[in-house]
């Protein structure tokens, strides 16, 4: 996306300097806004260097009859100089002069006009004349110039030019528009068929990058509308758009767009062949994590069909995103029914030694007697923790018995066998304790459901893991909806048994998790 915008800026600068744009192609590595500022600086400085003489020429227009001035402009000055002179003409003189100039010449002049300096002149010109100039520019394929004037001309004039543009031309003008907010206003005026036509034309030409760029550049309301219309197109088109997202690495924009779309439109866009590639989803997940877009990721994952959900199993980054995301996603998509064989899921602290510098120490147990305590993963920070043991998922069990069946008790073997109050296998619902007594040490910690189930639980530093090897059955809940119940306010104190775990979240601990959780809940 940035490449296209930067390319347009470089093209404008190259024109200003009378250079082939290829000579300045290296500048495309810069930010489009920085490039625009650079171009304006250079353009302004070049203009300023000639301004005194340009003003004397402009004064000539008051001395000579307008037809003679027009002839001098066309025959002696030419388009570039005439365009610069326009920057110092008063409006009435300019309008009189423009009326004497041929439309084709005006179109050439427009390429050298600074829209910001001449906006009042352009707006004072008769609409049909400006539309005619726009048609000339369309015929020449000069979308850069057209794009510069999008913010200057009236809506009527813009739509008048658009009426003469085919869908492909309209796409290019929209992409070159310097003022995307204004472009969005114009898109608002276009009928659905026109927008569909633009996307379809882009697809036909293989210009998916351009189509996607336009989508993400639009203001939210029009982006949603255009995205919804794009979703109505054939599978090939939708797949091309997704492939373009991969190519352009615009996942943050695409995830935001997907989150804004209707469920149906989102489903049509995400269930395409391209998203069967685990690398594609992994790239999206990484982008979501990098840009704190977990909430935007949820609707996408929640819209995947069975076939695509199956591909998620090969995306380790998914569970490593943010804790709340994975849990929410797993819950909403039913992924919990899938086996997660041999996955290292938690680090349990067997002895409750204080952990300095940990942002929070949480404790977990079922919120009510009879409920199940699901595994609370511990994400270990950069420093080694004492008394940390591994707990592995038993391979044979699904994480959740969706039919409500309670998994059978599973073997727990703490190191040394004496760390648990009772040295015997325990049922899952025994694990949490009842919490029935008021004076009982603190019970459930303020953990989000994501913290409970969703975190990727493989330790980041294997060397921190103790030798003890506690095996538990992958703990389950009797229904996915129960996952949301395991949230309770923190209370000070310590639990005497082993169900205390350390919750450390790399982005702000539990408080951060809760904020994210609220954010996730607020997501559409």
């Amino acid at each position: 996306m940035a490449d296209l915008a930067a390319r347009a800026e470089v093209a404008k600068l190259a024109r200003e300097l009378a250079l082939d744009a290829d000579r300045l192609a290296f500048l495309q590595a810069a930010d489009r806004h920085e490039l625009a500022a650079l171009r304006e600086t250079i353009s302004g400085a070049l203009f300023a260097a000639q301004e005194p003489r340009l003003r004397r020429i402009a004064a000539l227009g008051k001395l000579l009859p307008t037809p003679i001035t027009a002839r001098i402009a066309e025959a002696a000055f030419g388009p570039m100089l005439s365009g610069r002179i326009a920057g110092v003409l008063d409006v009435s003189t300019a309008v009189r002069l423009a009326a004497q100039l041929k439309p084709a010449f005006l179109a050439e002049v427009s390429k050298w006009i600074d829209p910001a300096r001449t906006a009042s002149i352009v707006r004072a010109l008769p609409d049909p004349n400006v539309i005619t100039v726009g048609r000339h520019l369309l015929e020449q394929g000069d979308y850069v110039t057209l794009g510069r004037f999008v913010s200057v001309v009236s809506t009527e004039v813009a739509l008048g030019v658009v009426a003469h543009a085919n869908d492909r031309q309209l796409l290019h003008v929209a992409l070159c528009a310097e003022d995307q907010a204004r472009m969005s206003q114009l898109v608002h005026e276009l009928p659905d068929e026109r927008i569909v036509g633009v996307v379809a034309a882009a697809a036909e030409a293989g210009a998916f990058d351009e189509a996607l760029t336009l989508l993400v550049l639009l203001e939210p309301a029009e982006r949603i509308r255009a995205g919804g219309l794009a979703a109505s197109l054939d599978l090939d088109v939708r797949n091309g758009i997704v492939e373009s997202a991969v190519r352009l690495s615009v996942w943050p924009e695409v995830l935001s767009l997907l989150a804004e779309l209707s469920d149906d439109a989102r489903r049509r866009l995400v269930n395409v062949p391209a998203t069967l590639d685990p690398n594609v989803i992994a790239a999206a997940v990484r982008a979501a994590r990098e840009h704190d877009l977990g909430a935007a990721m949820l609707p996408m994952l929640g819209s995947l069909d069975e076939q695509h959900l199956g591909a998620l199993g090969a995306v380790p980054e998914l569970a490593d995103l943010i804790p709340g995301l994975a849990a929410e996603t797993l819950r909403t998509t039913g992924l919990l029914s899938q086996e997660r064989r041999d996955e290292l899921v938690i680090r349990a602290v067997q002895h409750q030694g204080p952990l300095p510098d940990q942002p929070y120490v949480g404790e977990a147990r079922p919120s009510e007697d009879g409920e199940l305590l699901v595994s609370l993963p511990t994400v270990v920070g950069d420093q080694a923790l004492e008394h940390v043991e591994e707990v592995r998922v038993v391979a044979q069990l699904p994480a959740v018995e969706l039919d409500g069946h309670l998994p059978a008790p599973h073997r727990i073997e703490p190191p040394g066998g004496d760390d648990l109050p009772e040295d015997r296998p325990r049922r899952l619902d025994e694990w949490g304790g009842s919490g029935a007594h008021e004076d009982e040490p603190p019970a459930a910690a303020p953990v989000s459901e994501g913290e409970v189930l969703g975190q990727r639980t493989a330790p980041r530093h294997a060397e921190d893991v103790g030798d003890g090897n506690v095996e538990v059955g992958q703990q389950g809940v009797d229904h996915p909806a129960d996952l949301g119940k395991q949230v309770r306010p923190a209370r000070p104190g310590r639990l005497p048994d082993t169900r205390r775990v350390e919750a450390h979240e790399p982005c702000g601990g539990v408080e951060g998790l809760q904020k994210r959780h609220e954010h996730l809940n607020a997501a559409p």
Binding site: L17, A18, L19, F26, A45, Q50, L64, R71
Partner: protein, 75 residues
């Protein structure tokens, strides 16, 4: 190179910040292009003014000439 270009253009160096990320050679390409463009535009303007005089009616040419070339240099 940015400092030289800013002097040439008469603008503060921070207005050319976009060029900082580029190599000295790349900055030199831009600076040379700007210098060429400024010189070419000045030359084009001189030529255009002299051509323009030929289209001005004789009766107005003296006034126009004094307006366009206040220093009397018409090439």
């Amino acid at each position: 190179m940015i400092d030289e270009l800013s002097d040439d253009l008469g603008v503060a160096p921070e207005h050319l910040a976009a060029l900082r990320r580029f190599s000295e050679d790349e900055q030199r390409i831009v600076a040379a292009a700007v210098t060429r463009a400024r010189q070419a535009q000045a030359a084009d303007l001189d030529d255009a003014l002299r051509r323009a005089l030929r289209f001005i009616p004789r009766v107005l040419r003296g006034r126009a000439s004094r307006l366009l070339f206040p220093d009397g240099d018409r090439g």
